[in-house]
C-alpha cells in the first residue's frame, strides 16, 4: 500500500522514474499467478482476440467480477472453474497486477 502511494506521488510530481520504478514494483507472486491467465486473456491481459481484455481493468470491477464468478451470481462459460480455485486475497493481488498494466502498451 505504501509503495503504491509512493508511486502515485512520484508520478504526480512528474519525476521521470516510472520505467525503472514499474519494474521494481511488480509483485512477483501476483505476476506469476497472472501468468496462467495469459493463454486466454493475452500476455499481461492484453487480449489480441475476442477474449475480454484484463489490462487496465478497474480493480473494484475486477474483484467483483471474480467474486461473482465464484458465487455463481455472474453466469459464465468457464470463469467459474477458475475463480473457485483462488482466494479472495489472491483476487486482490491479481486486480492490482492487471489494473497496473498500461492499456495500449504491449508488455
Amino acid at each position: 500500500m505504501i509503495k503504491k502511494y509512493l508511486l502515485i506521488i512520484t508520478c504526480a510530481l512528474g519525476l521521470a522514474l516510472p520505467a525503472i520504478h514499474a519494474q521494481a514494483e511488480v509483485d512477483k507472486h501476483a505476476r506469476n499467478l497472472a501468468g496462467s491467465c495469459a493463454a486466454c486473456h493475452g500476455t499481461n491481459g492484453h487480449s489480441k482476440s475476442g477474449m475480454p481484455t484484463l489490462a487496465g481493468l478497474d480493480r473494484t470491477y475486477f474483484v467483483t467480477a471474480l467474486k461473482e464468478f465464484k458465487s455463481g451470481a455472474r453466469p459464465a462459460t468457464v470463469m467459474q472453474h477458475h475463480a473457485k480455485g483462488y482466494t479472495d486475497a489472491e483476487f486482490e493481488l491479481l486486480a492490482d497486477f492487471f489494473a497496473s498494466q498500461k492499456v495500449g502498451k504491449k508488455h
Partner: protein, 425 residues
C-alpha cells in the same frame, strides 16, 4: 516448502552431482561465445518457447537465452484436429520464431541436440556445442513404437499415421480421409494414459465424424481405447457423438492395439482383428529422447520427476524439465506447458541470482475441444502446490462445460490466437 534457504544456498554452491556420463566427449567448438549467465533451452514447443520469452522479459534481458529447436517453424498441435474436420489448413496453425529473436533477443539455433553432459554443463549438436549455467529440457514426447508389433517410425510416416505431432502427418491423414470410400472405417487407437492431450483423441473422433457427415455419411469412426473408459469430458463427448453423429462413432474400451498389419490395414487387439480403411494408431508415449540424454528420466523409464517450485529435475540439480516430459498428476497440454514454463522461468531467474524462488505456485489448465466446426466444450482446473504431498493438486471448483456451444467454439478460437501470441509474439 521443500527446501529451506540454507539448503537452497548449499545446493546452488555445491552445484551438480557428478553423473555417470563417461562416454560423452565434448565435440566441436562453442557455437556462441558465452559472456554472462546463460540458460540453454532444448525444444521450442509450447513449454520451451514460453520459457525462452519469459526468462528474457522477466530478467529485463539480463540473462542470455539460447533456444535449440529442430524445426524451422512452430506448428500448433492444439486445433490440429480441425485440419481433419476441414475447418482449418495446417498453414493456419504455423508460426515463425521471428518475434522471439527480434523482439525478445532469444538466440535461436535450428538443429538437433544429440547429447548432453550434465557434468560439464554442455549440450552437443552436430555442428558444435553450447555450455550453460542452467538447462531447460522441453522436448515434448517421443513415441514408443516398440510397444505395438509391426509398427515403427517409417510405417507411421508412410502409412499408419499417428498425427500426434502436428505437421506433415496431419496433412497426410486428412488426405487418407479424403481418399476413403463412403462406407469405410476410420479406426483411432488410443494408448493407455498418461499421454499427450487426454481429450485429443475423442476430439479427433468428432472432427473425423464431422467430415464424414458432410462427405461420406455411410462411414464409421471406430475408437479402440486402451483405457477402461473415456478419459476426459466423457458425458460431453458421448452427447456429441449421439446427437451430432448418430450411428457413426463406435467406442470400444479396454481395446489396446497390440499389433498392426500395415499390408492388410489390420489392427489387432486382445479380442479381435479390426480391418480399417484408415488406421490412425497413436502409440504410447514417453518424454522426448533429450530427457534421457540429460539423464533425467525416472525409474519408470518414461517421465521426469521434478520439484514443482522450480521444475528442477530430481536427478540433476541444474537441469529443469517442463511440459509433456514431466511426471505429474497434471494433464499434458499446451496450456499446462506454458503455465509450468512461467513458474520455471521465474525460478531460474531467482536461482541464477542466488535468491529463493517463489514458494506458493498456482497454475491453470484449460483444454477446449472442438466437437464440430462451430461447437466446443472445455475442461478447466487450477492446480496448487501441496506441501505435504510435494506435488501439484487440483483445487476445488474445476470442471467441464455444462453443454457444448457455439459461444465456447468462439472462445476456443480466441484462446488459440492469444496463447500462440503469448508463446511466440
Amino acid at each position: 516448502m521443500s527446501i529451506n534457504r540454507r539448503d537452497f544456498l548449499k545446493m546452488t554452491v555445491a552445484g551438480i552431482a557428478v553423473g555417470a556420463f563417461p562416454g560423452i566427449a565434448v565435440a566441436g567448438s562453442e557455437l556462441l561465445k558465452k559472456k554472462g549467465q546463460r540458460v540453454v533451452i532444448v525444444g521450442g514447443g509450447f513449454g520451451g518457447a514460453t520459457a525462452a520469452k519469459y526468462i528474457r522479459d522477466w530478467s529485463h534481458n539480463k540473462v542470455e537465452v539460447v533456444l535449440i529447436e529442430r524445426n524451422a517453424m512452430f506448428i500448433s498441435c492444439p486445433m490440429s484436429n480441425t485440419v481433419l474436420g476441414g475447418s482449418r489448413k495446417i498453414n493456419d496453425l504455423t508460426r515463425s520464431y521471428d518475434s522471439l529473436k527480434k523482439k525478445h533477443g532469444v538466440k535461436l539455433i535450428q538443429g538437433e541436440v544429440t547429447a548432453i553432459d550434465p557434468e560439464k554443463q554442455t549440450v552437443m549438436l552436430s555442428k558444435g556445442h553450447l555450455s550453460y549455467d542452467r538447462l531447460i529440457v522441453a522436448p515434448g514426447v517421443d513415441f514408443m513404437f516398440d510397444q505395438i508389433g509391426g509398427l515403427d517410425a517409417k510405417i507411421a510416416d508412410e502409412k499408419i499415421h499417428h498425427a500426434w505431432k502436428a505437421g506433415a502427418q496431419t496433412v497426410k491423414l486428412r488426405k487418407q480421409l479424403e481418399a476413403m470410400p463412403d462406407g469405410g472405417v476410420f479406426a483411432i487407437g488410443i494408448p493407455k494414459g498418461p499421454y499427450r492431450c487426454p481429450p485429443g483423441p475423442y476430439e479427433r473422433a468428432c472432427q473425423v465424424a464431422h467430415y464424414m457427415k458432410q462427405n461420406k455419411p455411410k462411414s464409421k469412426v471406430l475408437i479402440l481405447d486402451a483405457n477402461p473408459d473415456i478419459t476426459s469430458k466423457k458425458g460431453l463427448f458421448m452427447a456429441a457423438w449421439n446427437e451430432l453423429y448418430p450411428g457413426m462413432v463406435e467406442y470400444r474400451p479396454n481395446a489396446a492395439v497390440l499389433s498392426v498389419d500395415a499390408g492388410g490395414m489390420v489392427a489387432k487387439t486382445e479380442f479381435d482383428d479390426v480391418k480399417a480403411d484408415v488406421l490412425n494408431i497413436i502409440p504410447p508415449m514417453k518424454a522426448g529422447a533429450v530427457a534421457s540424454m540429460a539423464g533425467v528420466v525416472g525409474a519408470d523409464g518414461r517421465w521426469c520427476a521434478v520439484d514443482f517450485i522450480t521444475y528442477e529435475s530430481k536427478v540433476h540439480k541444474n537441469i529443469h524439465v517442463i511440459g509433456d516430459a514431466v511426471a505429474a498428476a497434471l494433464p499434458k497440454s499446451g496450456h499446462m506447458a506454458t503455465s509450468q514454463a512461467k513458474i520455471c522461468a521465474a525460478a531460474v531467474i531467482e536461482m541464477l541470482q542466488g535468491k529463493q524462488p517463489e514458494q506458493d505456485p498456482a497454475i491453470v489448465n484449460t483444454c477446449y475441444s472442438m466437437v464440430s466446426d462451430t461447437d466446443a466444450v472445455h475442461v478447466a482446473n487450477v492446480f496448487r502446490f501441496n506441501v505435504e504431498k510435494q506435488s501439484m493438486v487440483s483445487a476445488d471448483g474445476g470442471g467441464v462445460s455444462g453443454k457444448r456451444s457455439a459461444e465456447e467454439g468462439a472462445f476456443a478460437n480466441f484462446w488459440l490466437d492469444n496463447i500462440l501470441d503469448d508463446v511466440l509474439g
